[in-house]
């Protein structure tokens, strides 16, 4: 019975939204998605998949690549080899996928962001995302894929019925690598280069007194505040928060620039951010050439509107 094994990305009891991309890929391929997940209440919509395999083990053991290969062996012994094993392209997904590929000697294509059903090829980003490679496994047999977040989730759809579930037991814990503990982000010294989401303020904020309101917005969005040089020069923000050639170079997932015109030296410090959103009332501001999304509006008004929505 042909199937695709979707290895769930889970973390501290959460079923990550990125899993929808894995499930969506299966739908796109027209194949049954069997979800491999540790036992426990993950609150996921089980109807999205065709089957469940619950592993009776702690989440931390499940996420350990040394144990995952044993789990996969048990699954394949019970169900036969899947057409494909899919992981999310995440800290756990890539680690598990690559180790499994090495262990089972299977082809692996990572960070897939598209699929051409007609030709059976996967699109994968190359060279700073400037080129896509059209990849496919060279031969027949099981292969491994990791999917880029946001690539296939619109294909994920409910099947309309509760899926059958099995269990895997007796997963031995490999002592060569063990989970010790989670470490939360330090709240003391700010290191903007480590932030995933930066809310960056430019000269457009006008005056120092506006900053507390922006800080409140940042708090609601769980963003870290950073700034461009003029703001730091005026000592409205500390030096540690400066983005730019003479400050720090950042590559967050999202760079939300408010009131920043996009001077060359600033752009150099953030242009590799995965997603740049610029808010500026000047439609000619150079930053719009580098941003992925833009809002042409008064930044204070946008700030206040966002706060209004977030506070409900």
């Amino acid at each position: 019975m042909s199937y695709v094994l979707v290895v769930a990305e889970v973390r501290r009891g959460i079923f990550e939204e990125r899993n929808l991309d894995s499930i969506g890929l299966c739908a796109l391929l027209g194949k049954d998605a069997i979800l491999l997940i540790p036992e426990g209440d993950y609150g996921m919509n089980e109807q999205l998949v065709n089957g469940l395999v619950r592993v009776k083990t702690e989440e931390a053991l499940f996420l350990n690549p040394l144990n995952m290969v044993n789990i996969l062996e048990k699954v394949m012994a019970a169900r036969g080899k899947p057409d494909m094993i899919v992981f999310t392209n995440s800290a756990s997904g890539i680690e598990l996928a690559s180790y499994a590929a090495g262990h089972f000697n299977l082809p692996v294509i990572t960070d897939v962001n598209g699929y051409d059903k007609e030709r059976g090829i996967f699109f994968k980003s190359y060279y700073s995302d400037k080129i896509f490679g059209e990849f496919r496994p060279s031969g027949e047999g099981t292969f491994i894929i990791t999917v880029r977040s946001g690539s296939f989730k619109e294909n994920a759809a409910g099947k309309g019925s509760a899926p059958p579930a099995e269990a895997i037991e007796d997963v031995a814990a490999n002592a060569a690598r063990t989970f010790v503990e989670y470490v939360e982000e330090e709240k003391t010294d700010v290191d903007i280069t480590k932030a995933e989401f930066l809310l960056s303020l430019g000269r457009g904020i006008g005056n120092k007194d506006e900053i507390p309101d922006y800080e409140e917005l940042a708090g609601l969005l769980k963003a870290v505040i950073s700034g461009s040089r003029p703001v730091i020069d005026k000592l409205w923000l500390p030096k540690a928060r400066q983005v730019g050639t003479s400050g720090k170079t950042v590559k967050p997932k999202v760079y939300l620039a408010m009131g920043i015109s996009g001077a060359f030296q600033h752009i150099a410090g953030m242009k590799d951010s995965s997603c740049i959103i610029a808010v500026n009332k000047d439609p000619e501001a150079p930053i719009f050439q580098y941003a992925h999304y833009g809002i042409i509006a008064d930044i204070h008004k946008v700030r206040d509107a966002l706060k209004g929505i977030l506070k409900g």
Binding site: V108, D111, D129, R177, T178, A297
Partner: protein, 259 residues
């Protein structure tokens, strides 16, 4: 501690406009400058810091053409004791093929190690898989996305992995092991040109890749290279203020930074 660090010479494509030639057969890199893979730079720095503190040696290994000697000289300038070049003119896209080549080399040449460092990924192919595949093939424990090495003991390491959303996990891994290093783990030292010149005095051994080809096969193939769909500058949101803000929040959610 004896550490092997794999380091790669990659095209610096971030600023370049790349051209595809031969109707998708190849990407023209002839006018693109080359540099050390950012992740590998962090790996070498981390390895050198470890041996500076607790003794041992760092051996830098690179797979590539003769020009890859550049990254070995750089590694030596930073403090590596040796540089080995596994010379090949082929571009190995498949991480499986690369990892098998590495495995063969390490076995045949009997290079001693307590740990192997690779970078999480390389800037050109962005695969991120070589470290994991190599570890599994060598039957060694593996930890990826390492953003900090908190303790180095005679038989294990305590490391921190970078997860999503600022969260980290602390992991204990027994030696010998394979670790893939994430950028930001340290601040790599500057390598001056004069420093690189001095490093040229240390011999870099060259091995021919042809001698380690057992089971090195491409399990994946590139059918064609294509350009990504064109982005027409910033997508400017429109409509009423409230609507645009809601749309903005939707984008933040999709990018995974806001729940």
């Amino acid at each position: 501690m004896n550490l092997i660090v794999f380091t790669k010479r990659v095209p610096a494509t971030q600023e370049e406009e790349l051209r595809i030639t031969g109707e998708g057969k190849a990407v023209d890199l002839s006018k693109v400058p080359f540099k050390v893979n950012d992740w590998d730079n962090y790996s070498i720095e981390e390895a050198v810091r470890i041996v500076e503190k607790s003794g041992g040696a760092v051996t830098a290994v690179s797979i590539g053409d003769a020009e890859s000697d550049e990254v070995l000289r750089r590694s030596i300038a930073m403090g590596a004791k040796d540089g080995f070049l596994i010379e090949t003119g082929d571009v190995l896209h498949d991480p499986n093929a690369r990892a098998t080549l590495m495995q063969n080399f390490l076995k045949k040449e009997n290079v001693p190690f307590d740990a192997i460092f690779t970078g999480v990924q390389s800037e050109d192919d962005q695969f991120g898989a070589v470290g994991g595949i190599l570890a599994a093939k060598l039957g060694l424990p593996f930890v990826s996305m390492v953003i900090g090495i908190d303790a180095t003991e005679s038989d294990h390491l305590i490391v921190r992995r970078e997860l999503e959303g600022g969260l980290q996990e602390r992991v204990k891994v027994m030696l010998p092991c394979v670790v893939s290093i994430q950028t930001g783990i340290n601040e790599p030292r500057y390598v001056s040109i004069m420093g690189v010149r001095k490093a040229s005095k240390v011999e870099r051994k060259v091995f021919k890749a042809a001698g380690y080809q057992e089971n090195v096969v491409n399990k994946i193939e590139v059918v064609k290279w294509v350009y990504p769909p064109k982005k027409a500058g910033a997508t400017i949101l429109s409509g009423e203020l409230d609507g645009m803000c809601k749309e903005l929040l939707g984008i933040l959610k999709e990018k995974g930074v806001y729940q």
